[in-house]
């Protein structure tokens, strides 16, 4: 085999020296990789405007959607339905996106189980966000929720039903009736136990009806920005190493969250915050990245979460000394204390050196003191789960657990229509041509804390909102604004540099350093000194990106290159997260600090407002963080933006004035 290769190399060198040098643009693949529909406009042109080393293909579309999860697919086929020539650029096959793991349900005030009103859902969501959510976006989402769920059901999503045939709703996610005074509300609709999986398959199947062009396994490198307007995306085709520039008037980012910045997370390996990083590199801000939702008991290594029911049934958390440490932190509630208390206690134990395992970085959840039949009856399936994910026999050994990242509330700032905004001169300014939806976006519906079953709703409502906004403001077939011929040069140069990188640290080592640092310093336990130390360490780790070493020099399916690109994206997200967390000196929702335990608003809402003076904007913390990064130095700058407190229609649905959040 080697001799064949050697011979062909010698021959080809001889052959080429006799022929004129062939420009890279003319190097075509001998086989068409992509399936094209007969009759479809195929105006992809090959150019060598930005690179002679890589074949560059230019495409023109009316709209480009980056990411094909729940939000991306909804936006893509919403746009196709409206007649736009849409491209969906995704690094994974659509049904492999992380939405498939969202097995919980979708909240909607359909009123099938009892009388319900979306305004009560609005109130619950605003309260859950700890008054950091933009109330106009929450109004939009909760008002559209019933219509969105009915639409999904019309698309064929097989929700579970009541006896009458209506969609069955169950109680979940902190939902209440009558603005918190009417007891538990039943709002969560589900599809057996695989709502996210079913949602994704329904949306994908539906999108095939329209002629969206799917560019699967294309890694989006950067946005093509010119004069503050987004004019498209540049992407790397992983299959053959060619660069593709997608020019369009409208770009929608729906790339998901960035759980992989932490050592322990429930997200897939592909949740690397690519959209947030692309927007950061374009000089635009990311919003509220310090709000990261944790769960106390995630299995060490695997990242799957163990239900709180284990502790409810009598399971206990123990440290390296075999001590039931929750008795010290919560003498009354012990292991049944609230999630954030448990997470913080576990982290403190680990920090003080009483963690278990070779690196002393997790604790144990012990269930073997409970009778096995009771365990099997109350928690069926847990022994298989523990065996598959942790490799332990739950009736004999404890399960290794540690606080795990589950969701990122922060992301790309948008208004309630899905348009990306920047905050300049004291006002929100729309970035023309750019939209965002899903977990990647922060229309700030979740604020400081996400309620259960709201994120799937967020996906479909804002995916649809982006499509509707684009359809209302643009027409299919609009002329594209001119773009400089060398747009995207730096992205290709960066990719080329990574492909031939030969420093001293491997991608996996730098990534592990970043993940460990974030887990130790920017996780649940946050205090000034710990965060400051973490900020310095993260800045150093950011600088080590220059010493990255890659091994695969190939161009076809170079996963080393793609992982390194993802690492660059993760790093941008990580530095913004930790710097934003360090600066926010209060505790709100998922961001809980030991040194500033109270929420700092413009008034002290625990006392009557009469006679209180309103604090100026820079002295309270009920505001959104906007973070910018200088890509070369890694320096993070922070700005703040006020929370939108008015709903879309004050007569229809009055806004909820802030109050103390207690359940």
């Amino acid at each position: 085999m080697a001799s064949v290769r050697a011979a062909s190399r010698l021959l080809s060198r001889r052959a080429i020296s006799n022929i004129k040098a062939v420009p890279a643009a003319a190097v075509q693949n001998s086989r068409n990789f992509h399936f094209s529909i007969y009759g479809k406009k195929n105006n992809a042109k090959v150019s060598d405007d930005i690179s002679t080393q890589y074949p560059v293909v230019d495409h023109e579309f009316d709209a480009v959607v980056v990411g094909a999860g729940g939000a991306g697919l909804r936006a893509a086929f919403g746009l196709s339905e409206a007649g736009f020539n849409t491209a969906c650029v995704t690094k994974l096959f659509p049904t492999r996106s992380h939405t498939v793991a969202a097995q919980g349900g979708i909240n909607a005030a359909l009123g099938n189980m009892e009388d319900d009103d979306w305004r009560w859902h609005f109130y619950d969501t605003v309260k859950g966000s700890d008054w950091l959510g933009d109330q106009d976006a929450i109004h939009y989402m909760t008002e559209q929720a019933p219509a969105a769920v009915v639409e999904l059901e019309n698309f064929g999503m097989p929700f579970s039903r009541t006896e009458d045939g209506k969609i069955y709703q169950r109680a979940f996610g902190g939902q209440s009736l009558k603005y918190g005074k009417g007891g538990q509300a039943h709002r969560c609709c589900c599809v057996a136990d695989r709502t996210g999986h079913s949602l994704l398959h329904t949306l994908y199947g539906r999108s095939l009806r329209y002629d969206t062009s799917y560019f699967v396994e294309y890694f989006a490198l950067d946005l093509l920005m010119e004069d503050g307007q987004c004019k498209g995306v540049i992407a790397l085709c992983m299959e053959d190493g060619s660069i593709h520039r997608f020019r369009s008037q409208n770009t929608v980012i729906a790339t998901g969250g960035y759980g992989r910045t932490y050592f322990s997370c429930t997200s897939a390996h592909t949740s690397t915050g690519d959209g947030n990083a692309m927007v950061t590199r374009a000089g635009l801000p990311c919003q509220d990245l310090e709000f990261v939702q944790f769960h106390p008991t995630g299995i060490y290594g695997a990242g799957c979460l163990i239900t709180e029911g284990c502790r409810g049934e009598g399971g206990i958390l123990i440290n390296s000394e075999g001590e039931r440490f929750m008795e010290r932190y919560a003498p009354n509630a012990k292991d049944l204390a609230s999630r954030d208390v448990v997470s913080r206690s576990m982290t403190i134990e680990i920090r003080e050196g009483r963690g278990v395992g070779p690196e002393k970085d997790h604790v144990y959840l012990q269930l073997h003191h409970l009778p096995p039949q009771q365990l099997a009856a109350r928690l069926p399936g847990i022994s298989e789960t523990a065996m598959i994910f942790a490799g332990v026999d739950v009736t004999k050994e404890p399960i290794p657990v540690l606080p795990t990242v589950h969701y990122n509330m922060g992301g790309i700032p948008t208004n309630y229509k899905g348009q990306v905004i920047d905050y300049t001169d004291g006002k929100d300014k729309v970035v023309p041509g750019l939209y965002a939806c899903g977990e990647a976006a922060c229309a700030s519906v979740h604020g400081a804390n996400r309620l259960g079953a709201n994120s799937l709703l967020d996906l479909v409502v804002f995916g649809r909102a982006c499509a509707l906004t684009i359809a209302s403001e643009h027409k299919p077939g609009e002329k594209l604004s001119p773009l400089k011929p060398n747009a995207g040069e730096e992205s290709v140069a960066n990719m080329d540099k990574l492909r031939f990188a030969s420093g001293s640290l491997r991608t996996s080592e730098i990534r592990l350093n970043m993940q460990k640092t974030m887990q130790n310093h920017a996780a649940v336990f946050r205090t000034g000194s710990v965060l400051k130390e973490g900020c310095d360490k993260m800045d150093d780790i950011y600088q080590t990106l220059d010493q990255i070493k890659t091994f695969d020099r190939g161009i076809v399916w170079n996963t080393d290159l793609v992982e390194s690109l993802e690492l660059q994206n993760l790093m941008l997200n990580a530095v913004q997260t930790i710097h934003s967390a360090e600066q926010r000196k209060e505790s709100r929702g998922a961001h809980a600090r030991e040194d500033f335990k109270v929420r700092v608003d413009e008034f002290d809402y625990s006392k009557p407002l009469q006679g209180q003076e309103k604090k100026p904007f820079d002295q309270h913390w009920r505001k959104h963080t906007l973070s910018y990064v200088d890509r070369k130095t890694g320096k993070v700058t922070l700005k703040y933006r006020p929370v939108i407190d008015t709903s879309l229609d004050e007569e229809d649905c009055a806004h909820v004035p802030p109050a103390i959040r207690s359940y």
Partner: protein
């Protein structure tokens, strides 16, 4: 190996070989060995190899009569939950009974 399968590349080889016929003998020899190597590889590959080991897929697994391994979470009759009368809902105990969405001991939403 795949070079040998493609027609254009074979032609390319031959053409270049012909044009480079004035080359050193060692080149010619390596070329010959390449071509013979190819032809040897493309034909009768399995002839000198040992017989295929037993296939990894368990043969006849689906021939065994219906004794499916019991799933820990049992199906409801007609897929209707007897207590809540929910049709097509999650199997097993109510997932939200502990305040989070629990399935087989794993929490998927909270």
């Amino acid at each position: 190996m795949f070079f040998c399968g493609q027609q254009p590349l074979n032609m390319f080889f031959l053409r270049v070989w012909v044009s480079a016929s004035k080359q050193a003998v060692s080149r010619k020899l390596s070329m010959e060995s390449v071509l013979t190597g190819c032809s040897r590889a493309s034909s009768g590959m399995a002839a000198d190899k040992e017989p295929l080991k037993k296939a990894k897929t368990p043969q006849g697994r689906f021939d065994v009569p219906e004794e499916k391994s019991k799933d820990v979470l049992e199906k409801f009759p007609d897929n209707i939950n007897p207590v809540t009368k929910e049709k097509g809902g999650p199997r097993g105990p109510e997932p939200t009974r502990y305040g989070d969405w629990e399935r087989r001991g794993r929490c998927v939403d909270f």
